[in-house]
Symmetry: C2
Subunit: 297 residues, 2 copies
Amino acid sequence: MNFNETLTTKVQNIEKIIKQFLPEETGYQKTVLEAMNYSVLAGGKRLRPMLVQEVFEAFGGTGDVAWPFMAAIEMIHTYSLVHDDLPAMDNDEYRRGRKTTHVLYGEAMGILAGDALLNYAFETAFRAFDKAETTKYPRIAKALKVLAGKAGIYGMIGGQVCDIESEDSIEPITAEQLMFIHEHKTAALIQASMMIGGILAGATDEKVAELERTGYDLGIAFQIQDDILDVTSTFEELGKPIGSDEKNHKQTYVTIYGLEHAKAEVKRLSEEAISLLGLDSDSFLAKLFESLIYRSK
Amino acid sequence: MNFNETLTTKVQNIEKIIKQFLPEETGYQKTVLEAMNYSVLAGGKRLRPMLVQEVFEAFGGTGDVAWPFMAAIEMIHTYSLVHDDLPAMDNDEYRRGRKTTHVLYGEAMGILAGDALLNYAFETAFRAFDKAETTKYPRIAKALKVLAGKAGIYGMIGGQVCDIESEDSIEPITAEQLMFIHEHKTAALIQASMMIGGILAGATDEKVAELERTGYDLGIAFQIQDDILDVTSTFEELGKPIGSDEKNHKQTYVTIYGLEHAKAEVKRLSEEAISLLGLDSDSFLAKLFESLIYRSK
């Protein structure tokens, strides 16, 4: 199988795992359960659960203790999109070609479905305790701390707050603020995915710190590539208007540092990520990194 | 000290404990940290952390392993109020005489502060792992499952969803729906508080089931008393318009079953709660139950 075939198979397998953890749509709370499942099953790359699984296996992990965390991190990613799309936030009516959750179920249910997904993510992650001997509980405790830490005010939510505030501000964003937003809003959950995979497989603290650095490189490179594509891509390739950042006077890595420096930085980060983990360039994980970074849409 | 003096001292002590776990208001995410602390420090009875602590001590618990859970359950209660007050939900501008969070910080920040509090509640609860030997980790895992379960779609959020939908519906609410809402929206977190106190102190499964039943009785009695007061109290006593349920054509326990039956049910539930735990009628916990149920506002 070539890389794309392997990727497709892996995504299908991950979606099967996630579905096992989704709630049944019954009872008086049926509507919110439907809204939760609609949001999670709206598609997407399943990048975060894939990173949990790939790193878990790369560090010699076996069994299904990582499964609840794979589903949990996808639920957290999904709740953040559901709340980002709300009228008081980005006010988006479509995502991946489908109506957003609040458009279909109403704004109150959009808020509640997001809350429910965040809460259920932890409820789901706690099921890892049922899949492990009590001697493994310290690992699970450590993974839970990483999950909550990288999703919260010192992680993803912190980045989102800074992003919202900088959009409302008349001051142009500084380079430092921009990197704060990228590191927290984008990189944090990618870091969490990789760290959790390592922790659950028994990686040393030193290795977990390397995974955190790798997740940072990967997340930032992904985000800079996004800014590059907004300038260099065509409408057909990107499937959305190009040059929109410049038109919206939005400061990006490219507008602050220029296109050449941005491209060089993506290359540097990508190479660092691969070498940090000592990956064979033919390995699935190395190819996954490259496909994420050097993408054309 | 009489009951009220003891209560005041205990509330002050609990507020000191909660404050230890609140975030420092610094960094690019400062605004959301301020909004979180504003919401948590808006006052309230601190009933849930008090129940965690009292039950923990009643079952022989010692040390500070329950503290993170006391702060966590108050954060979860607070986030639910912050989101309930949002324009798309109850659209309340004041709570306990202070502006609600979204009125002061804007709607986007109201949503994010609620999300942040829910996430931070788990982040905080995980600090219990740092306060216990690893041999106690199974207890903490059990307490975490109760916390998330009673706060989520099969607990508080489930009740809120049913409540919102029944308000939007032209059909009058059934007695079964009403009890579903009360059990989930009000009783679930009270059950969680009592169960977590017991679990962390090493109570048997049988005792934890009794605590769950007691929390149910207490939560339902509290809610029925609310409905009774809406009919029997004066404006001065209640501090809000009386008879508002009837005016809003709102179905309550009193409108469905009548005032006499409602009063009898409060008495029965209250007596059952006290006898289930085998409490001395002079004990602080028995008096706390009675003060909660037989209140005049």
